[in-house]
């Protein structure tokens, strides 16, 4: 059987199936659908959902709840991510598993509340101070909205860090026909919970210590300040160094566990189209159309935006001399692709008038 479903609903279902037990959010178009569904659904499964007094409170409550044993998610759009900024840093520093959904709308500022955009791709990457790695997944279909949300919960536990699900107004609100059989089952790992002893560990630098939760028998110290493994504030140089390297290496050294992309490569094709998010749909359609016209072309829809999946992109670029990057901004991800493209020509197909990129626009850029 098939269903008629939007991306928001798929995200909510993905979260529930992944074992989400806490949600806090503040209404904002086009992310409100997720808030309302979570307010309705979470109490039914014994979880808690609350509308915070603002976005700062919402993400703060999520972080507190996670430390008390919940699996938490919050959802907002660009203006709300701005208000999340400082707490994203807290979650990075305190190594808090947390899923943050960004339903992108046209910015900057209030921008176009009901207008699609992909303007936040660098913002989620660099949205807090300090310059540490961030994990961000970007679904390009409703089915992906479901399983990448579940995957985000899994990666959040694996790496003890905030994980973004970057979607947009169109994916979140467009109704799509989905075959009920097409949803893959994502194994979301159980939380490894530690008890007693220091709540943090920095050696080996790339390893992640189990999360110590409040109220499990032993006292637990949590802090957003630079801290030693016991959770006490420190300025001890080797400890500070070890902490900061750990925060980076636990993700950077394990990028292979995060890389996700949907590759449709054609042997000997001189052109590769790289897209992500809602534009991924147009990329797939354009590749099919170009091939129908006899043009040899490869397509790559990136699903793990950050860290950028360099290995898959490099592989897809083999033998290619031209890379086309369509996106609903003025080339924010293209510059990342250029860095990897090493001399190949990289062209953008960009749209910032609030409409989706046309399949024909991409086909034209490919020919």
């Amino acid at each position: 059987m098939r269903e008629y479903i939007d991306g928001s609903t798929a995200i909510v279902r993905g979260a529930l199936d992944a074992g989400c037990t806490f949600f806090a959010g503040y209404p904002i178009t086009p992310a409100s659908g997720i808030l309302m569904a979570m307010m309705r659904e979470l109490p039914k499964v014994g979880g808690v959902a609350i509308q915070g007094e603002d976005e700062i409170a919402s993400i703060g409550m999520c972080i507190g709840a996670t430390l008390a044993g919940s699996r938490a998610m919050t959802a907002t759009s660009g203006p709300g991510i701005s208000l999340y900024s400082e707490n994203i840093g807290l979650a990075v520093m305190g190594e808090v598993p947390l899923v943050i959904v960004d339903v992108q709308r046209l910015g900057p500022s209030t921008g176009g509340a009901t207008t699609v955009s992909q303007g936040d791709v660098q913002f989620v990457r660099w949205g807090t101070g300090g310059g540490f790695p961030i994990i961000a997944l970007a679904p390009s279909t409703v089915t992906e909205s479901y399983w990448l949300t579940a995957k985000a919960f899994d990666l959040a536990e694996r790496f003890r860090c905030p994980v973004f699900v970057v979607t947009d107004k169109e994916l979140a609100t467009t109704l799509t026909t989905v075959d009920l059989e097409s949803y893959p089952t994502i194994q979301v790992r159980d939380r490894e919970v530690g008890s007693g002893g220091p709540p943090y560990r920095y050696a080996p630098a790339d390893e992640v210590a189990p999360l110590h939760e409040f109220g499990r028998g032993a006292t637990v110290r949590f802090t957003g300040s630079t801290h030693d493994t016991g959770g006490y504030i420190t300025k001890h140089l080797p400890t500070v160094d070890a902490l900061n390297r750990h925060l980076s290496e636990k993700i950077e050294d394990h990028r292979d566990e995060i890389e996700l992309a949907d590759a449709d490569l054609e042997d000997g094709a001189p052109t590769l189209v790289i897209g992500y998010g809602v534009t991924g749909g147009a990329v797939r359609a354009a590749v099919a159309e170009a091939r129908r016209r006899g043009i040899r072309v490869s397509g790559l829809v990136v699903q793990s935006l950050w860290p950028i999946p360099e290995t898959v992109i490099r592989r897809a670029m083999e033998g290619v001399d031209r890379v086309v990057v369509p996106e609903l901004n003025l080339g924010l991800y293209r510059r990342e692709v250029e860095r990897i493209a090493a001399g190949r020509s990289v062209v953008g197909v960009n749209r910032v008038d609030g409409e989706l990129i046309d399949v024909d626009q991409i086909v034209e850029a490919v020919t």
């Binding site: 059987m1 098939r2 269903e3 008629y4 609903t9 909510v12 529930l16 806490f22 806090a24 178009t29 309705r40 659904e41 109490p43 039914k44 499964v45 808690v48 609350i50 007094e53 603002d54 700062i56 409170a57 919402s58 703060g60 409550m61 972080i63 507190g64 709840a65 996670t66 430390l67 008390a68 044993g69 919940s70 400082e86 707490n87 807290l90 509340a113 009901t114 169109e170 609100t173 467009t174 109704l175 799509t176 026909t177 075959d179 009920l180 409040f214 109220g215 028998g217 006292t219 637990v220 949590f222 809602v278 991924g280 147009a282 359609a285 409409e355 989706l356 990129i357 046309d358 399949v359």
Partner: protein, 436 residues
């Protein structure tokens, strides 16, 4: 005879406080330690949530669980902890600085009556950052940022949370003999409890204002602020109330499958745009078309465009139907357009003009002169034997379009409507539409 001797549990650790000599923070923390010993709860189930500033250093001198987060946001973390685990004892320690920057959290936690205890270490200025004025700095006081005397009126923290529902509110100073008793009361109170504890910042406020313990008391008096327990009443604790309200809810949502019950003759993708006014059921009518198409074995997508003010201006839905699954993409020139209002027409006029001979535009007599290259089908709703409400025009015309173009059987529309909300009125509209 055997006697069980339970050693007194320890809450304060051995590390000496880092505060300046005479700073009030240490005395309040001693009282907190005394209060916890009186209550005698497991230190692991006590979570001290500290804010930022000198007051924010406090948690490190306790052997309880601790959460040290961002400036002004301690109440939000405490709320999250309490909502997730109502059985934990959650104590917030924040300065007057934190109270100012996080004022909205203070008010809202009080309003909700989340069962946390907030100790405000109110030393009338920002200690850690160098003695700048805070929201509680008395008028006239000299600080690093009010060299000529503070021109702002000080915030009455107690009244603010009190009038907004807080279960327990107390004002006093770090010198009060009964402070630990009051802290015990506050922790034992099931709802939101706050103690506004005035104290001395010996590094800044004291030297800048020749301030003393007596000065603290006389300032409270001069400002006309009451002291002691100011509010104390029974309230429903939020986390507990939430759980009670969550009992007996139906089970969570699951996918709702739509059965395939009809065939469709469609072999190519067909795009259909319906343009009407916001609030006039354009989106829900379009959704019924999609559901009916799925019942007919097709794959549908629906994209909507509308202004933020949902009940005024245009409402546009693009429905794409096809025999194969397809990702939603923008529709520049649709195959079929259905125009039911002037708002909608304004929005799609360029689209209609760009449509060619293969396209079809369905509209009402009012817009019979619309400029389009497509075939125009004018449907007169007044020709219907039943009166058609304005809000059903979209569904009526969509049904007419489906029937006349033979996209799929109208019975599929009937089934979709019967299975959904507002079945009766939608079925009536579909009946009217197929008859026109």
């Amino acid at each position: 005879m055997t006697v069980d001797i339970t050693p007194l549990r320890r809450y304060r650790n051995e590390t000496p406080y880092p505060f300046c000599p005479g700073c009030g923070h240490g005395s309040i923390l001693d009282k907190l330690s005394e209060a916890l010993a009186t209550i005698d709860i497991d230190p692991a189930s006590v979570v001290v949530v500290s804010d930022i500033g000198c007051a924010g250093l406090s948690d490190q001198y306790f052997d309880t669980s601790a959460f040290h987060g961002l400036h002004g946001r301690s109440i939000t973390y405490a709320t999250g902890v309490k909502l997730a685990r109502p059985e934990l004892t959650v104590i917030v320690i924040m300065g007057d600085g934190g109270t100012g920057i996080g004022g909205t959290h203070l008010i809202n936690a009080a309003r909700r009556n989340v069962g946390i205890t907030v100790l405000v270490f109110n030393n009338l200025n920002f200690g850690m950052t160098g003695g700048q004025h805070s929201t509680t700095t008395p008028d006239g006081a000299v600080t690093a940022t009010t060299p000529g005397g503070n021109l702002e009126h000080p915030l009455d923290i107690c009244a603010t949370v009190g009038v907004n529902g807080a279960g327990y509110v107390y004002r006093g100073t770090s010198f009060d003999d009964d402070l630990s008793t009051r802290i015990v009361e506050a922790i034992r109170h099931p709802g939101f409890a706050l103690l506004d504890i005035w104290e001395l910042c010996t590094a800044y406020f004291v030297p800048a204002n020749k301030f003393t313990r007596r000065g603290l008391e006389s300032t409270i008096e001069r400002l006309g602020l009451a002291t002691g327990v100011l509010y104390q009443h029974d309230v429903a604790e939020y986390a507990t109330a939430y759980r009670a309200a969550s009992r007996d809810l139906p089970s969570r949502m699951r996918p709702v499958g739509i059965p395939t019950t009809h065939p469709s003759p469609l072999t190519d993708t067909t795009s259909l745009v319906v343009a009407g006014s916001a609030g006039a059921k354009v989106r829900s009518a379009a959704r019924l078309v999609g559901e009916a198409a799925i019942r007919s074995g097709l794959w549908a997508t629906q994209r909507d465009d509308y202004p933020v003010t949902v009940k005024t201006g245009h409402s546009l839905s693009e429905v794409v139907l096809g025999p194969r699954p397809a990702a939603p993409v923008g529709v520049t020139v649709p195959d079929v357009a259905v125009v039911v209002s002037a708002d909608g027409l304004r929005k799609v006029q360029p689209m209609l003009a760009a449509m060619g001979l293969n396209g079809v535009v369905f509209t009402i007599p009012e817009f019979a002169d619309v400029v389009t290259g497509a075939r125009l089908v004018v449907i007169d709703p007044t020709a219907s034997p039943v009166r058609i409400p304005k809000a059903q025009l979209a569904l009526v015309l969509l049904t007419a379009a489906v029937a006349r173009l033979g996209l799929f059987p109208v019975e599929a529309m009937t089934e979709a409507a019967a299975a959904g909300a507002f079945a009766e009125e939608n079925l009536a509209a579909i009946e009217a539409g197929r008859g026109l």
